[in-house]
């Protein structure tokens, strides 16, 4: 089966890239896993988050911000083309601090990121307790202050995934389930990808198989040092509107459920035993918003986040296998705007832009010390 591009992986990263490629006019086939795949996508917390991203990594800060800026267009085009709302909202977002020490750390982080984005452009500011309370009256007594950024927002990861799948199909793309890519080989001018559902051929191949990229990368001369990091999310029963904007670990969905997640900055968060982690997440959420103590948890997920050694994405075209691109990252919702509307056009053209040069896996090759 011949296409212009094969996207290996139908999760948020693969689907956003495939949708973008289809928009560029390419004939796209997404090779997806079976029903129990999509772990990272299903475990996504749903933030479109800018304020703390890219400390010490300016290119990532800018790439993330670009994605947040592209999100309103992505949301609008998906709604128009598929009728599916991603429940995207951009009311800004809050990060809370539960101690003075945390707040001080946060202040210096915000100052550093100010320098990256430029003061006029960053849109984040520090709030004392009173200011936080004015924005969000439900906060608990331990909240000493926080930060607000006008570029933050949130969306439903599940509706986003559904809209992307729908959008890919409406633009003539194919999504093949039970077709987990097993290997990639040269095939004339292009490549052949073998799966349990047959062999697929195309001139361009995008590796978006999450953790599966590691093994696939070896087929095409890409050394992708990525590892899973478990994260957990709790979801409560629906309640009336209580939160008018998302925060870094608690948000209210369009349906009214409260979602409680790991902090995206707590990348070292230890997840050893699921009940205990659930309890830790619950306790922290109650400190931030005491009203949640009377809600019931109806669902929880453990999901595997995809982490490179430094936690930043890997975007790279294979040197030995031109036309094969690797896309590796967490934060598949935040970056969906960039993946669909900035990255995909580059892949369609056959070369990644200068703004992505900081994201190749070659950065890990530097000798120690």
């Amino acid at each position: 089966m011949q296409s212009d591009a094969l996207v290996l992986g139908g999760g948020l990263v693969g689907a956003a890239t495939a949708y973008g490629l289809a928009r560029e006019g390419l004939k796209v086939t997404v090779l997806d896993e079976g029903d129990v795949a999509f772990r990272a996508s299903r475990g996504n917390f749903g933030l479109v988050w800018v304020q703390s991203k890219g400390d010490g990594y300016p290119d990532y800060a800018i790439w993330t911000r670009r994605s947040a800026d592209l999100w309103p267009s992505l949301d609008a085009m998906l709604k128009e083309e598929t009728g599916v709302s991603t429940a995207y909202e951009k009311p800004g977002g809050l990060h809370f601090c539960l101690s003075e020490e945390e707040l001080e750390k946060r202040k210096s982080l915000i100052a550093r990121l100010h320098n990256v984005h430029g003061a006029a452009n960053y849109g984040a500011r520090i709030l004392d307790r009173q200011e936080v309370r004015e924005m969000m009256p439900e906060i608990g007594p331990e909240v000493v202050g926080g930060t607000y950024c006008e570029h933050d927002g949130h969306a439903s990861p599940l509706y986003l995934l559904r809209a992307l799948h729908d959008g890919i199909k409406r633009r003539g793309g194919r999504i093949v389930a039970d077709a987990k890519a097993e290997s990639i080989a040269r095939d004339g001018e292009g490549y052949a990808v073998t799966t349990p559902s047959g062999t697929f051929r195309a001139g361009r191949v995008v590796l978006a198989a999450g953790l599966g990229n590691k093994a696939l990368g070896r087929n095409v001369g890409l050394d992708l040092n990525i590892a899973p990091l478990k994260g957990q999310i709790l979801v409560t029963e629906r309640t009336r509107p209580r939160l008018n904007m998302p925060t870094h670990v608690v948000r209210q969905t369009g349906e009214g459920s409260i979602m409680i997640g790991d902090s995206h900055e707590d990348v070292g968060f230890d997840v050893s035993s699921s009940s205990d982690v659930m309890a830790t997440l619950a306790a922290r959420a109650i400190r931030m918003f005491p009203f949640v103590k009377d809600l019931r948890i109806v669902r929880s997920w453990a999901a595997l986040r995809i982490m490179s050694p430094d936690g930043y994405p890997i975007y790279q075209q294979s040197e030995s296998h031109p036309g094969v691109f690797s896309v590796n990252c967490h934060s598949g919702v935040t970056l969906a705007g960039s993946h669909a509307l900035a990255l995909a056009p580059m892949i369609a053209k056959g070369a990644l832009g200068e703004e992505l040069s900081a994201f190749t896996a070659r950065r890990f090759d530097a000798p120690a010390n």
Partner: protein, 96 residues
């Protein structure tokens, strides 16, 4: 029309939507409501459509009511206690 074939034992009184309901001691709130002719316990959180006890064994979560101000409680799993204030759960006020 519900009937009780057995009226032995003690009677417990609680209120549902402000009116008195009689339960036999040890019986669940849902059973007492059904015996009193009340089959609607909540409004669906999605459409607002009326719902009532369905499985009576704690599985379906259709009989959710508010008991003494605490919402989302399973009427079929909770034994009626004297003086309880039970209310129908409405869609727009799912939780306190």
């Amino acid at each position: 029309m519900p009937q009780r074939i057995d009226t032995s034992g003690e009677t417990v009184r609680f209120t549902f939507e402000g009116r008195d309901v009689e339960a036999r001691a040890g019986e669940t709130i849902a059973a007492a409501l059904i015996a009193s002719g009340e089959t609607t316990t909540r409004a669906s959180v999605v459409s607002g459509a009326p719902r009532g006890p369905f499985c009576m064994m704690g599985v379906c979560f259709e009989c959710l009511v508010e008991i003494d101000g605490v919402p989302n409680r399973q009427a079929c799993m909770i034994v009626a206690e004297p003086g309880m204030t039970v209310a129908r759960q409405t869609a727009d006020e799912v939780a306190a």
